[in-house]
């Protein structure tokens, strides 16, 4: 078969009528500086052997700033050689003084493994005995002691630091006494609840370091977000220098927005994004062009994978197209990564697992199934395509979700807007108290000591009253037999997790996962269909008291969707913006959540094919919320419908503006709010105590409001559709009314 070149395919794509926006990114030349004079001869030799003869400007600046004793945050796009930003100063320091130690933190074990291999290749070229080890749950007990005593570079994750290293710091004396650098890679992943926890873990780390007399510098690297410096400073509690003078070269990039054709005009239903992705990917793959396809869920990955393998099996053979997602074994992943680098694998279908810095080389084409959810995430995925020289193409195929439609129809929003800010709230009281307990366990607290920027005397006193701490001559001592870190997980929304037990095989009952309590109410109730790594399980029994869900593997044609009855009570109003007809408030609320019924929904047609009750106790959380209220005593009948529509739109828009997951913020509307009796929409942080999302919405309300209105306005439907405010009735003019309603705030 005669193969088309990438340029020819680009030319064809330009003519496609479904392409609604075409954006070109100009190529850039490399910007380099010679290796600094100060670099140790052996390190210089090792770099030469790896064909590094000079440094990109950002690597050079990073090295120089660290030499000056500054903490740095390097913001670098994918494949710009970010690892040298930290490996260079770290190896230099150890070459100068062999007692020096460094701690590397990666958000996942897989990334830590990758980094170790890369680092060891570089070390092997140096003539110095530098020991670098990963330290995680998989590290065998026999070498743990060696890692603790002799590891120059210890590579781990925040969870391990929290639960194993810090609580046992007396076994790590040689690390903490000599710690020179703390490296935090993939900084942008530390946001929301997880980031708020990690910021506190780092406060504890700094406390332990100062006990042992070390004052390490921080070296962070981050993907492009709006506030890398601010996030790094919040996370580490140290002033940062921002390094963003990227000197890596790049070729020409075409960024294409593709909107599948409408197949049902009145209902504004479009052809499915998946089908369009299959077709587009096939065109590239059959012409032997290396392509990565992103999908938003694990199930979706498997579906697209099997379609594409089928479509191109004659031309390229199924072995050359692979899937990649969480749940694959580490060896399998390593093989796929290597296959992509070597070019043995032509195509890969992945979840956002490949967004992170795993090295797979540079591909020519990236196809996204739907908008990835945030500007930052989109750029991360787009970064997978793009060689240092030559052209590359990124195609984003829009789904029917309101946000997808909004993005592709408002290209300026995407291309001109800064990526989102990553927000954390280390001062969330629950998170803070958790970590204060861990900190007091690790080292007695001085009465006058602060924890990060916080005065914590009140909390310490509270913990003394709770009989967890003991006060004696100016110090608070841990005085409980428990081990606090073991109760506290950095990654879950609520502290107490429900364990998922698979009892498909009586002889081999095993735990397959865990879930936070609040999510479990809607996803693990009796008879729920729970999806885990593409496999369907049915929940046979949710043992709420013991926090266990017993599941069994099934093969059914439906999924389940639970309804929650949510009640909100306003506890305290902190801030208010009054308008003539409305008001926007920010404050504390109590949320009572009671799951009521679940529906069985057929997978192919989304028909409702049955339902059942859920009997679980009510949950109560106190959190922060922002709420919009309209001063109308006697609202017209259709208002309830409109409120729901606006709430729906806000729930889609807010996560993009606050860079959180859709499940981190909840939206609910009340036609007669309990505390005032007037129409109200609440947006609240789905985490006890709040993590700063509602506050952010309050501060940037104008921006959020405008985005919501734009979304409704630009939706091509006539009278509301599932992609915006939902279906309206005849003569109701729901779109116009929704926009007006928002205008009043």
């Amino acid at each position: 078969m005669w193969k088309k070149t990438l340029s020819e395919l680009i030319a064809e794509l330009r003519k496609d009528e479904n392409v609604i926006h075409w954006h070109e990114l100009e190529p850039a030349e490399a910007n380099v500086r010679p290796l600094p004079e100060t670099i140790d001869g052996r390190l210089r030799q090792a770099l030469k052997a790896r064909r590094v003869h000079d440094l990109y400007t950002h690597q050079y600046s990073a090295y120089e700033a660290v030499q000056k004793g500054e903490n740095i945050t390097a913001v670098t796009p994918t494949a710009s050689g970010k690892t040298l930003c930290y490996n260079l100063p770290v190896l230099q320091k150890i070459a100068e003084d062999e007692t020096s130690r460094a701690l590397y933190l990666f958000p996942t074990k897989a990334l830590a493994q990758d980094q170790k291999s890369e680092l060891n290749e570089l070390i092997a070229e140096m003539d110095i005995d530098i020991k670098s080890f990963t330290y995680d749950g998989d590290t065998s007990p026999t070498i743990r002691q060696k890692v603790r005593q002799a590891g120059h570079i210890v590579i781990t994750n925040p969870d391990m630091l929290h639960s194993a290293i810090l609580p046992n710091h007396t076994k790590w004396v040689s690390l903490f006494e000599n710690l020179k650098y703390i490296v935090i890679d993939e900084l942008h992943t530390y946001r929301g609840v997880f980031g708020s926890h990690v910021a506190n873990v780092i406060r504890r780390l700094k406390r332990i370091c100062s006990f042992y007399g070390s004052h390490p510098q921080f070296i962070c690297t981050s993907a492009t977000i709006a506030n890398p410096k601010e996030l790094a400073e919040q996370l580490t509690g140290s002033p940062m220098r921002l390094i963003d003078n990227n000197g890596a070269p790049r070729g020409r990039k075409h960024f294409v927005f593709y909107n599948p054709p409408v197949v049902n005009e009145p209902l504004n239903i479009r052809k499915s994004a998946t089908a369009e992705v299959n077709r587009l990917a096939r065109e590239f793959l059959r012409n032997q062009i290396q392509t990565i396809i992103f999908a938003r869920s694990r199930v979706r990955v498997e579906i697209i994978l099997s379609h594409i393998q089928e479509l191109v099996k004659k031309e390229v053979g199924p072995k050359k197209i692979r899937g990649y997602r969480g749940g694959y074994l580490p060896n399998e992943r390593r093989a796929i990564e290597k296959g992509l680098r070597d070019g043995d694998i032509l195509g890969v279908v992945s979840t956002n697992a490949l967004e992170l810095g795993v090295d797979i080389g540079q591909l020519q084409v990236c196809v996204m199934t739907g908008y990835p959810g945030s500007v930052a995430s989109t750029w991360q995925q787009a970064g997978r395509a793009g060689r240092r020289h030559g052209e590359s193409v990124i195609v984003m195929v829009a789904g029917s979700a309101p946000i997808d439609q909004y993005v592709v129809q408002n290209p300026d929003y995407f291309f001109e807007r800064n990526p989102e800010s990553a927000r954390i709230n280390p001062e969330n009281l629950i998170i803070l108290v958790d970590h204060l307990k861990c900190a007091a366990y690790e080292l007695p607290f001085q009465e006058t000591e602060s924890f990060g920027p916080m005065e914590v005397a009140d909390i310490l006193d509270y913990l003394r009253e709770e009989r967890v701490l003991h006060y004696n001559s100016g110090k608070y001592h841990w005085s409980h037999e428990s081990f606090p870190a073991s109760n506290i997980s950095l990654r879950s929304a609520a502290q107490e997790n429900v364990v998922i037990v698979d009892q498909s095989e009586t002889a081999n009952v095993k735990i397959i996962g865990e879930m936070d309590r609040l999510s479990a109410m809607t996803l693990l109730h009796d008879e729920a269909i729970y999806l885990h790594e593409g496999i369907q399980y049915q929940v046979e029994k949710l043992d709420w008291e013991h926090k266990k869900a017993y599941v069994r593997q099934v093969d059914v044609e439906y999924y389940t969707d639970a309804n929650l009855a949510v009640q909100l009570k306003v506890l305290e109003v902190d801030r208010t913006k009054e308008q003539e007809q409305s008001a926007v408030h920010y404050g504390d609320v109590t949320v009572n959540i009671l799951p009521t019924i679940f529906k069985k929904i057929k997978m192919t047609t989304f028909e409702n094919i049955g339902s059942g009750p859920i009997t679980l106790p009510e949950e109560e959380i106190h959190t922060s919320a922002v709420w919009l209220e309209w001063k109308r005593e006697e609202p017209e009948k259709s208002l309830e419908h409109i409120l729901m529509g606006v709430a729906n739109v806000l729930h889609h828009v807010v996560p993009i503006h606050t860079m959180c997951d859709k499940s981190d913020i909840h939206v609910t509307s009340q036609i007669k709010a309990a505390h005032t009796g007037i129409p109200t929409i609440f947006l609240y942080d789905h985490y006890p105590g709040g993590i700063g999302l509602a506050e952010d919405v309050y501060k940037r309300f104008e921006e959020v409001k405008k985005a919501a209105q734009d979304l409704i306005r630009r939706c091509p439907c006539e009278n509301g559709c599932p992609s915006c405010v939902g279906m309206g009735f005849d003569g109701m003019n729901i779109k116009q009314k929704s926009i007006e309603l928002l205008d009043q705030c």
Partner: protein, 405 residues
């Protein structure tokens, strides 16, 4: 909203430490000092901190379980005439050099778990002296360790699982006060837990000290505070200051330490006794222990003794091990006779014995038919280990080839 108000509101979301520890308040003076004094306690002050110590003496003729402390003294003295290496050998030490040692803590692991009681016992000047060092509340650790380190020779500790529990805990806590008290040197010690596992685990479900006491030392605990209650009792003391419960824990700790003297005596006797332990199983375990420590001469003696009894699996195991020792010493005739015995009895080790015989016939005595006979016999047995099986098949082929030449 005020911090205090917020904390109250979020109370149920903050992870609670269950069960709640007793309410704690800082003592102005030492409360209940009369009770302490009545129990023979003394105060030690150091650098603005203090700890409570207690010394108890026992006459050398006092019996604790099977033996008196005098027996202990005698047995420990007997190590001086012991030849070769043994992990428990006290050769070169005076009886009074040994410190029998045990601690009580507020938790099992981690830097936040505190040692609140250290106890030692020492046989000295015709009596046994028990010394206990008690932490009256967190924040007095410098005093605790200063006093303990001043009075204890930590190069010769005798413990129960001290290698992996007690000593690492001491090291961990010492890190917190290392600027104020002497450094901790490397320590040497005898760990009786490992010794007990070697000798008793084949007959006991759990080799916890209490169980060993009951089974082997003729000791029964009456009114003893279970060790797992110690943390709760301690936290209660820190709150209320009444030493009643703590004194019970101290009694428990003292019993533990005294039992270590009896246990050390008992195990030493099993190892040192010229006639060896009466039962063939213990003799085998003692022999294996010598074998693992590289003391072959002593191992042989124990195996001989164990192999003396009739054809039980234990005796056959001992005979096999003894044969291996002979083979190593190139006493092939003795080795072959023992391997024959094991092979004939057709017990668990018969195949291994046959393999050894086949090797010796083939290489030592060049008796191919006999070697072939042993090999074929071994192959007829129900072999579960594929490696053994394929090695035997390989040997069979080689022997057949040799025979046909």
């Amino acid at each position: 909203m005020s911090m205090a108000k917020k904390l109250q509101r979020l109370k149920k979301h903050i992870v609670r430490e269950e069960p709640p520890a007793p309410k704690i308040e800082a003592p102005k003076a030492i409360r209940f000092w009369e009770a302490w004094e009545a129990a023979g306690a003394e105060l030690f002050e150091f650098d603005g901190e203090y700890c409570i110590t207690r010394e108890t003496h026992y006459d050398i003729e006092t019996a604790h379980g099977l033996y008196t402390f005098q027996d202990a003294q005698k047995t420990i003295g007997q190590w001086s005439s012991f030849e070769g290496y043994h992990p428990l050998s006290a050769k070169g030490f005076a009886t009074s050099d040994l410190f029998f040692f045990d601690i009580e803590t507020t938790g099992l692991s981690g830097s936040g778990s505190v040692i609140f009681l250290l106890g030692t016992a020492r046989i000295h000047n015709s009596r046994v002296t028990v010394r206990q060092y008690f932490l009256p509340s967190p924040g007095n650790e410098a005093a605790l360790y200063a006093k303990f380190l001043q009075e204890t020779d930590y190069t010769t500790l005798v413990t129960y699982n001290g290698k992996s529990f007690d000593w690492p805990q001491v090291k961990s806590r010492h890190t917190f006060v290392r600027d104020k008290v002497p450094a901790l040197p490397a320590f040497g010690h005898f760990d009786l837990y490992h010794a007990s596992r070697r000798l008793f685990k084949h007959t006991m479900e759990s080799v916890k000290l209490v169980n060993v006491e009951k089974e082997h030392l003729g000791l029964e605990r009456i009114n003893d505070v279970p060790g797992h209650l110690a943390p709760i009792i301690y936290f209660d003391f820190v709150e209320r200051g009444d030493p009643e419960g703590v004194l019970e824990v101290m009694k428990h700790n003292e019993r533990d330490i005294l039992s270590l003297i009896t246990l050390y005596t008992h195990i030493s006797r099993l190892v040192l006794d010229q006639k060896g332990p009466a039962d063939s199983q213990t003799a085998l375990e003692v022999g294996k222990w010598f074998e693992a420590s590289g003391n072959r001469a002593a191992a042989k003696k124990s195996f001989e003794q164990s192999a003396r009894s009739t054809e039980t699996e234990v005796a056959l195991d001992a005979a096999y091990r003894l044969a291996m020792q002979h083979k190593r010493e190139k006493s092939f005739e003795e080795a072959a006779a023992l391997f024959q015995r094991v092979r004939q009895a057709e017990g668990k080790r018969a195949v291994e014995a046959a393999v050894e015989l086949a090797k010796m016939y083939e290489h030592k005595w060049k008796d191919i038919p006999k070697s072939l006979q042993e090999t074929s016999w071994a192959l007829e047995q129900n072999l579960k280990n594929e490696g053994v099986k394929s090695a035997l098949e390989h040997r069979l082929q080689r022997l057949q080839k040799k025979l046909s030449k």
